[in-house]
Structure formats: structure tokens, C-alpha cells
């Protein structure tokens, strides 16, 4: 792994604020980012990244490769929860396995955003359609997870109270973050450079600053969850670090195969390797109440997220750099 890349990442202010948040918890500080401020930052970041992605897509236009990338992204989001479910079933009950599978099949918007900030630090360009890929990858894993759970319930003969599909579909495809992302992307696509001129000071100039505040809070939240790791076994902890690595690796290979640029490749690999801790937990809590959120949220927040943004970003980028040259 290239030392320069590691430093570029570590000296990126948002990552440093993430460390500051973790430090605050370890020092038992009362530093706090009270609700609903984190929700505000999340709204802002999704709106901005979506809008800017739409504007870029407006500029680049939509071609065959973009359509192919989006289809492959969705396929990945369907396959990851499938294979991980059967892996997880060896050590977990069906509910937990399904929820964890959905978590890792879906994506982490914040990891994606941290990756775009890393790319801008390196001056590596990326395409606006990757934002669309992210939005498309959020939902399928939720459906797959719930279907797998339902099937294994039927097999084991447990009575299922008759799952209502409509609220599930709604929670999967129209949940707040997917809708805001998709909507902002569409607005960026529609308003193009004129919209960009009007909104750039808001969606662009101050973006990295808001990301710092948000990652400060993520550091707090993530470090608070670390105490929950004690209750998880070695299998679970190993899963939370290795499966992202494996998924990211596959992501890089696919990106190479599709002929994506280096920037798009990093984003694609980060989408495959990241785990959701906003949209999926809320959907799982409602659809699979038997699953323990202390498990899937802790894995995603206390391990996979920090691993990806601290180790993953420079690691994936150095692999990509060596493959792409």
C-alpha cells in the first residue's frame, strides 16, 4: 500500500475529524452533536451529492457503459446478500443472518461520500452516474434479506404472520435517503449547468466542511458502539472486516472488466465493500423484528465503516492504481 495514499487519506480533514470524534469517546468527553443535527448533515450531504451527480450526468450524457455499470451494480446488490446469507447461516439464526446479509448487500452513503472526498484530494475524476449506482444499490438487498428470511421460516415450519409486501417495498425503494438521493439527482439532471451555477456555493463549496462535522459525529457514534463488540464472537468480527475486503476485491475486478476509470472503480468497489447503517437497520427492525440490531448495526458502524474509510480507501486505491496502469 502506497504511503503517499495513506497519508493523503489520513490528512484529509474529514477523516481527522472522525478520529477526533472517536478520541472524544475514549477520553469520556461530553462532546456531543445533538439530534437532529446529524440528520441535518445527512440530508444536506445526500441532497448535495445527488444534485452534483445529476449535474455531472447532465454534462456527460448517458451511454452504454453507464447503463451497463448501473445494471451490474444492481446485480452485485442482489448477489452479495445471497452468498453472505448462506455463509452467516452456519453461525447465526435466520433472522440475524438475513439482517446482516442485507446490511452488507446494501451500501453506506457516508463511505461513498468519504471516497469522493478522497478522490477530490487526489484530483482523480469520477462520473455522476456512480451516485445513481449508489442509489440503486441501497434497496435490493433489503428485499433479498427479507425474502431469504421468509423462505427459511417456511422451511423450518414456523408460522409467519403473513408478511405485507407493500410496506416492505415502500421501506426499501422509497425510504428517505433513497428518495432524496434519486430526487436530487433528477433535479441536477434537469437543471444542469444553470442549476449548478445557482447551487454550487451550497452543494459544492461548503460540502467538505459539513462532511467534517458529520464525520465528527460518526466518530462519536462509531466509538460508542465499539463497546458492543465484546458481545460479538470471532466469526462475526472476522466477517465484518473480511467480507468487505472480499466484496471490494470483486468490485475492483468487475470495474476492471467493465473498463471503468480509476475514480469510478474506487467508488464501485467502495459500494460493494461497504455496509449500510442508516436505511437497512430501519427497514430490518420493521421487517425482521426477530433480528438483533445490536448485532448488525454494531458490525457495520463499529468495524466495517471505520475499516473502510481508514484502511480501505488507500488500500483499494493502491490496488486500482497498480491494476489500471
Amino acid at each position: 500500500m502506497n504511503v503517499e495514499l495513506v497519508l493523503s487519506n489520513l490528512l484529509n480533514p474529514p477523516i481527522l475529524f472522525f478520529f477526533l470524534g472517536m478520541l472524544a469517546i475514549w477520553l469520556h468527553s461530553d462532546l456531543d452533536v445533538p439530534q437532529p443535527l446529524p440528520k441535518f448533515f445527512a440530508l444536506y450531504l445526500l441532497l448535495s451529492i445527488g444534485f452534483r451527480g445529476g449535474v455531472e450526468l447532465h454534462k456527460s450524457g448517458i451511454n452504454h457503459q453507464i447503463v451497463l455499470t448501473l445494471l451490474v451494480a444492481m446485480a452485485a446488490a442482489l448477489l452479495v446478500p445471497l452468498y453472505t446469507f448462506f455463509l452467516l447461516r452456519r453461525k447465526m439464526n435466520a433472522g440475524d443472518a438475513a439482517a446482516v446479509a442485507a446490511t452488507y448487500g446494501s451500501v453506506s452513503a457516508v463511505t461513498f461520500i468519504a471516497a469522493t472526498s478522497f478522490l477530490s484530494e487526489l484530483n482523480v475524476p469520477f462520473g455522476g452516474h456512480m451516485v445513481a449506482a449508489m442509489a440503486l444499490m441501497e434497496s435490493p438487498a433489503i428485499i433479498v434479506g427479507v425474502v431469504l428470511f421468509r423462505l427459511s421460516q417456511k422451511q423450518s415450519g414456523s408460522q409467519s404472520g403473513g408478511l405485507s409486501w407493500r410496506p416492505l417495498m415502500r421501506d426499501a425503494f422509497f425510504n428517505g435517503s433513497v428518495l432524496l438521493l434519486m430526487g436530487s439527482l433528477a433535479i441536477g439532471l434537469l437543471t444542469g449547468t444553470k442549476g449548478e451555477a445557482a447551487l454550487h456555493p451550497f452543494t459544492g463549496d461548503i460540502f467538505k466542511g459539513v462532511l467534517c462535522l458529520f464525520l465528527l459525529d460518526m466518530g462519536l457514534v462509531s466509538a460508542r458502539r465499539i463497546s458492543g463488540l465484546k458481545k460479538l464472537g470471532a466469526f462475526t468480527i472476522g466477517f465484518a472486516v473480511l467480507v468487505p475486503l472480499v466484496n471490494a476485491g470483486f468490485g475492483i475486478l468487475i470495474a476492471h472488466f467493465l473498463g471503468l476509470g480509476a475514480g469510478d472503480a474506487l467508488l464501485f468497489c467502495v459500494l460493494c465493500g461497504s455496509a449500510s447503517y442508516i436505511a437497512v437497520p430501519a427497514a430490518m427492525r420493521l421487517a425482521i423484528p426477530e433480528a438483533n440490531p445490536g448485532l448488525y448495526v454494531t458490525m457495520a458502524l463499529a468495524l466495517t465503516f471505520p475499516f473502510n474509510i481508514i484502511v480501505g480507501l488507500p488500500l483499494y486505491m493502491s490496488v486500482i492504481n497498480s491494476l489500471w496502469r
Binding site: 439530534q35 462519536l220 457514534v221 460508542r224 447503517y277 430501519a282 427492525r285 448495526v297
Partner: protein, 97 residues
């Protein structure tokens, strides 16, 4: 003043919509909800500090006639069984106006 029963329900914030639908289906016409409540119970700590509302509770209070209590309690019990939470019933008097 009229004798009534206070029913307090504390459960997952995400679940409150279902609880209210249930109560209304059983003829409850008035209730009060406090969102953003934290706590601890059998299912662990609900710290309320995440981006999702997964680790957050809501609190609901409804005052209803004593004869309605059993129906409501029986309706709510299975939900609490699956989803967790607490339901307390106590006596009070309602100031008529």
C-alpha cells in the same frame, strides 16, 4: 371528575405508528405521544444517538374508560411480545370540561 384508566405504552419509535393504528382500531379516540425517548430494558439500551431511529423509543399515554382497558391491553400484548416494550395501567380521574 370521572374515573378513568391511564395506559402508558413505551416501545420502539419505529413501532409507534402500528401501536396507534391498533389503538384506533379498538376505539381509542384520544392519546398523547412523546417522541425521542431513551431507555433500557430486556432488549438493551435504547440510546437514541444514531442516525436511524432504531435505538429510540416513543412514549404514548392514553386515558380511557375502565371498561375499555382489557380490550386494549389484549390487543397490544402480542405486539409488545414480538417488538418489546412496556405497558403500564394506572388509575386516575379525568377533569371533565
Amino acid at each position: 371528575m370521572q374515573v378513568i384508566k391511564r395506559i402508558e405504552i413505551i416501545t420502539d419509535a419505529l413501532e409507534m405508528r402500528a401501536v396507534i393504528a391498533l389503538l384506533e382500531a379498538h376505539g381509542v379516540s384520544g392519546y398523547t405521544v412523546i417522541k425521542d425517548v431513551t431507555g433500557k430494558g430486556e432488549r438493551g439500551v435504547q440510546s437514541g444517538d444514531d442516525l436511524t431511529d432504531v435505538f429510540k423509543n416513543s412514549y404514548l399515554l392514553t386515558a380511557c374508560p375502565p371498561e375499555q382497558v382489557e380490550e386494549i391491553v389484549e390487543a397490544i400484548r402480542p405486539l409488545l411480545k414480538i417488538r418489546g416494550g412496556v405497558c403500564l395501567v394506572s388509575d386516575a380521574q379525568w377533569v371533565m370540561h
